[in-house]
C-alpha cells in the first residue's frame, strides 16, 4: 500500500487533574490511539460522549495539543509545525463542526465567512474572491443570493452548508467532520450526508467522519473505528463492523442504534452497569463493568486488551475469537 494520507500513532491526550496538590489522577481523553487514512478514504469514528472521538478530531487538525504520540499528514509530522508550514498544513486539512449555530460568527454574512479562508491564505486576487465564493455556494447547494445573509437568517441545514463551503474554500484534501449532521432534523440530515458524499467523489477528499450514530457513519465510511473510553476497541471495514462485529461493545452499540425496523428489535442487547469514571480508570478492560461476554473472567480485570488482528477486524478484546452469542 502506498503511503497513507494521514497516519496517527499512539496518540495520547492527558488532562492533569486540578485541585490542591494535584493529588487526583490525570484524566486520559485518549490513550494510545493509532490508525491510518488512505487518500480518498473515509474513516468513520463512533463512540459515546466522552469516548474521546471529538478530542481526536481536534488534535488531528491541530486545534488542541496532544500529550503524546504522532500525527503524520502526507508524510510530515504535524506536531511542532509553526508559522508558514503550519499555515500550509491548514490549507490541506479543514474541519466541519457539529453545531452550525455556534461555529459561524453571528456578525459575519455567510459570504464573508466563506471568503475568510481565501483572504487569510491569500489564495486569490481580491477581485476574484466574490466569484469563487459564489462557486462554492453553488457547490454546496446554496443559492448565490444567500451570500449576504447572516447566520440567524439561515436554517440549520443551510448553516451547515455554509460551514462546509467555508471548509472547502481553501481547497483541502482532508476534512475532519465532527458530528456534521447530529444537530439537524432527520429530513435535512440526508441532504447534508448526500452533499458530503458527492463532494468526496468529485474532489477526491478524505474524511475523518466522527459521529455517535453508527447508521449515519455507515452512509459515508469505508472503514469504521469504534471508540470506548479513549481507545479504539474495534476497527474494520464498515461492512464487517455491521455484519460481523466482534467486540461486545460494538455489538451492543449496533443493537442499540434506533432503527425504524420492528424486526430488528428482537435481538436487542440491553447492557447493564455503568461505564467507568475517567478519574478512576480500571486496570483491565474498560468495558468490563458493562460486558456481557460469556467468557469474561479475571484476565479482563487484570490485563488491558490491546487492539490486535482477529479475522477481518482489529479488536481489543481478550476473547474476540469466541462467540458472544449467549448474550442476554
Amino acid at each position: 500500500m502506498s503511503q497513507p494520507l494521514l497516519e496517527v500513532t499512539d496518540l495520547v491526550k492527558r488532562y492533569e487533574a486540578g485541585g490542591p496538590l494535584r493529588r487526583r489522577h490525570p484524566v486520559y481523553a485518549l490513550n494510545g490511539v493509532s490508525f491510518a487514512i488512505a487518500r480518498g478514504e473515509t474513516l468513520g469514528l463512533v463512540g459515546e460522549s466522552g469516548s474521546g472521538k471529538s478530542t481526536l478530531g481536534r488534535i488531528v487538525v491541530r486545534l488542541v495539543p496532544a500529550s503524546g504520540g504522532s500525527v503524520r499528514f502526507e508524510g510530515q509530522e504535524v506536531f511542532g509545525l509553526e508559522g508558514a508550514p503550519l499555515r500550509a498544513l491548514r490549507r490541506r486539512m479543514q474541519m466541519v463542526f457539529q453545531d452550525p449555530y455556534s461555529s459561524l460568527n453571528p456578525r459575519l454574512r455567510a459570504g464573508t465567512a466563506v471568503a475568510e479562508g481565501l483572504e487569510i491564505h491569500r489564495l486569490l486576487p481580491r477581485g476574484e474572491v466574490a466569484g469563487r465564493v459564489a462557486q462554492l455556494f453553488e457547490e454546496v447547494g446554496l443559492d448565490a443570493s444567500y451570500v449576504s445573509r447572516y447566520p440567524h437568517e439561515l436554517s440549520g441545514g443551510q448553516r451547515q452548508r455554509v460551514g462546509i463551503a467555508r471548509a472547502l474554500a481553501v481547497d483541502p484534501g482532508f476534512l475532519v467532520c465532527d458530528e456534521p449532521v447530529s444537530a439537524l432534523d432527520v429530513s435535512v440530515q440526508a441532504q447534508v450526508l448526500n452533499l458530503l458524499k458527492g463532494l468526496q467523489q468529485r474532489r477526491q477528499l478524505s474524511f475523518l467522519f466522527i459521529a455517535h450514530d453508527l447508521a449515519v457513519v455507515r452512509q459515508l465510511a469505508h472503514r469504521v473505528g469504534v471508540m470506548y473510553f479513549g481507545r479504539i476497541v474495534e476497527l474494520a471495514s464498515a461492512e464487517v463492523i455491521i455484519q460481523r462485529p466482534r467486540h461486545p461493545y460494538t455489538r451492543a452499540l449496533l443493537s442499540a442504534v434506533p432503527q425504524p425496523d420492528p424486526r430488528r428489535q428482537r435481538s436487542r442487547i440491553v447492557l447493564s452497569g455503568e461505564p467507568p469514571k475517567p478519574t478512576a480508570p480500571p486496570p483491565g478492560c474498560p468495558f468490563f463493568s458493562r460486558c456481557f461476554h460469556p467468557s469474561k473472567d479475571s484476565r479482563c480485570t487484570a490485563e488491558l486488551p490491546l487492539l490486535r488482528p482477529v479475522g477481518e477486524s482489529q479488536v481489543a478484546c481478550h476473547y474476540a475469537e469466541r462467540s458472544t452469542n449467549s448474550a442476554p
Binding site: S155, D185, V186, A190, L193, N194, L214, R218, P262, E274
Partner: protein, 325 residues
C-alpha cells in the same frame, strides 16, 4: 369506557408582533390506560408544546383555544387551577424532560429533591418519605439507591441522572408519564437501558406513557401506537406495526426514506427537499405540500381531510389511501 386521556382539538395560540402564531392546531389524540403512545415530529412540529399543554404548562403569552379540551378520565383539565392543578402536575401526570442537568437543581441532593416530590403528593412522615424515596430509586434501576440518595446531580452519570428524574416523575404515582425527549441526550446504549426501564415501569405500574421524540427509529418495538406531527398538526396516526409496515402519509413515507439505515448502505439517501416551515410560513392547504413529492394541485390551496385508514389509524392527506387506488 373512556380513554385515560383524550385531547380534543387542542389549539395553542401565541400573539406575536406580526399577528398570531398557532404552533399547535386542532390536535386530537387518545391515550388508553397502560399503553405507550409515541408522538413523533421534527423540531418545531409542536410535539413538546402539546406535552406541556397536558400539564397546563404552555408558556405565556401562549393560550389554549377556548374549544380545546383535555379530558382526563372524561373530565376537562384545561380550566384547573390552584390545588387541583397541583394535584394534576406530578400527581396524575408526571413528566420527564430531556436535560436532567437543568431539570434537577444542582444544590440539593437527589434524595432531597425526590422527597420533596413525594411529600407534595402524599402525606408521609419524614422516615416514610425517605423509605418511599429509596424504594423509587431502586425501582428505576439505580444500582445503589442509598448512595444515589445522598448524591448531588453532578456526581451521577447522565443515565443515572435521567433515572433520578424518572423517580421524581413517579413520586406522585401518575397514571400517565410524559417522556419528552427523555433519552435524547443519552448515549445510544444508555438510551436503550433507560427505555427498557420505562417500559418495565409501565407494565408493573399499569401506567400509560406518552413518548415524545424526534426519532422514528426509537419508536419501533417500544410504542403501541404512533402519532406523527408536522407543522403543528397530526398528519398520521397508526399502530406502530402498521405505520412501519405501510406508512399512510407522504411525510411519514419520506421520513422513512431519509433515515440512514445500518443494513443497507444505499448509495444515496432520499432527502426531503427544503426544511421544516416556521409557523409564520404555514399557508392554506396541506402544510407538507411544498416538500411533498406526491402532491396534487389542490394540496396547495385546500386543507386535506383526515381520512381513516383502519380502526384508530388515519392520515391527513388528499391522496387516496393505498389500496383504494
Amino acid at each position: 369506557m373512556s380513554a385515560l386521556l383524550e385531547l380534543r382539538d387542542l389549539t395553542i395560540r401565541f400573539p406575536t408582533a406580526l399577528g398570531e402564531s398557532v404552533p399547535v392546531s386542532r390536535v386530537s389524540l387518545r391515550i388508553e390506560r397502560g399503553e405507550t403512545l409515541a408522538l413523533v415530529g421534527e423540531s418545531g412540529s409542536g410535539k413538546s408544546l402539546t406535552g406541556l399543554a397536558l400539564l397546563g404548562l404552555v408558556p405565556p403569552p401562549g393560550k389554549l383555544d377556548a374549544a380545546s379540551q383535555i379530558l382526563l378520565d372524561g373530565s376537562d383539565v384545561t380550566r384547573l387551577s390552584g390545588e387541583a392543578l397541583r394535584a394534576l402536575r406530578g400527581g396524575r401526570i408526571g413528566i420527564v424532560f430531556q436535560d436532567a442537568l437543568t431539570s434537577l437543581t444542582p444544590v440539593l441532593t437527589v434524595g432531597d429533591q425526590l422527597r420533596e416530590a413525594i411529600t407534595a403528593h402524599r402525606k408521609l412522615s419524614a422516615r416514610g418519605a425517605r423509605e418511599a424515596a429509596l424504594a423509587l430509586l431502586g425501582e428505576v434501576g439505580l444500582p445503589d439507591p442509598a448512595s444515589s440518595y445522598g448524591a448531588y446531580p453532578h456526581e451521577l452519570s447522565g443515565g443515572q441522572r435521567q433515572r433520578a428524574l424518572i423517580a421524581i416523575a413517579l413520586a406522585g404515582q401518575p397514571d400517565l408519564l410524559i417522556a419528552d425527549e427523555a433519552t435524547t441526550a443519552l448515549d445510544v446504549t444508555v438510551q436503550a437501558q433507560v427505555l427498557e426501564t420505562l417500559d418495565r415501569l409501565r407494565a408493573s405500574r399499569g401506567m400509560a406513557i406518552l413518548l415524545i421524540t424526534h426519532d422514528l427509529g426509537l419508536v419501533a418495538g417500544r410504542a403501541d401506537r404512533v402519532a406523527v406531527m408536522y407543522a403543528g398538526q397530526i398528519v398520521e396516526e397508526a399502530s406502530t406495526a402498521s405505520l412501519f409496515e405501510a406508512p399512510g402519509h407522504p411525510y411519514t413515507r419520506a421520513l422513512f426514506r431519509a433515515i440512514p439505515r445500518l443494513e443497507s448502505a444505499v448509495d444515496q439517501l432520499t432527502p426531503i427537499p427544503g426544511g421544516v416551515p416556521l409557523p409564520e410560513e404555514w399557508h392554506a392547504g396541506c402544510r407538507f405540500q411544498p416538500r411533498c413529492s406526491e402532491a396534487l394541485d389542490k394540496c396547495a390551496t385546500l386543507d386535506p381531510p383526515v381520512v381513516p385508514l383502519a380502526p384508530g389509524a388515519s392520515s391527513r392527506c388528499w391522496l387516496p389511501a393505498k389500496g383504494d387506488q
